[in-house]
Symmetry: C2
Subunit: 108 residues, 2 copies
DNA sequence: TGGGAGGTACGATGCAAGTCATACCTGGGA
DNA sequence: TCCCAGGTATGACTTGCATCGTACCTCCCA
């Protein structure tokens, strides 16, 4: 059962949702950048400078969160996002490596 | 440059397209069944008994083909599909293992 | 040699995805 | 204290996806 914030439990992470979430280039970019950062690096949503309005940013982060790819925690005013590295690696070993290997497309 | 049938070259297989193709449960099922079969096992489109009309089956196979996941060759009347195992493994090592590990959902 | 089975092509349709503008809430500075 | 920056909620809009029916093509084979 997902918690109040919509985070699924480790065992509840579904491949279908994960793949659907990663089908979008913007969301893939977020995961790639998080994966490239430090182990438990937390970043605010806005630090990614996605080329979309902030309502859309919220939407994409919700999708990532509900798929089980990122964890979001309130921290005062803003909201920090961390990659659920261990959970992803446990459920789908090798997936993160595939994502980080992708060279980011030129534009966007 | 994809060939006449729409098969992308190995180096042209894009992660985005692959993930989008695999986001659909029916297409994931096709890949899973092919991966579970023999090394170069070829099956006809209709042998999968997908719960959709045949126009839709054609559509899904085209999507898989254009993403670079399957290769389709004409063989007389029907059309045999094979999984592009080596190509996928080269571009995205571990991806097939992740897909075959998924237990097929109850229905469909 | 004509059917029928296996596929494709095309148009139409319903629904979900991605996007935005706007309004709103909340916490930290100045 | 008050205002702004960071996020969320909601409704609207557009586009693309999955689906189907129908029409059509092409081999096999009875």
């Amino acid at each position: 059962m997902p918690d109040d914030e919509g985070h699924p439990d480790t065992a509840e992470i579904e491949l279908g949702r994960v793949l659907a979430a990663l089908a979008d280039p913007l969301r893939r970019r977020v995961v790639r950048e998080l994966a490239a950062g430090p182990e438990d690096g937390a970043r605010t949503c806005s630090s990614f400078a996605l080329p979309v309005g902030k309502a859309t940013v919220t939407y994409h982060f919700r999708t990532l969160r509900e798929a089980g790819l990122v964890r979001q925690v309130d921290r005062g005013n803003s909201r920090m996002a961390t990659l659920r590295r261990a959970d992803i690696e446990q459920r789908f070993p090798g997936l993160l490596a595939i994502l980080t290997a992708e060279e980011p497309p030129a534009a966007e």
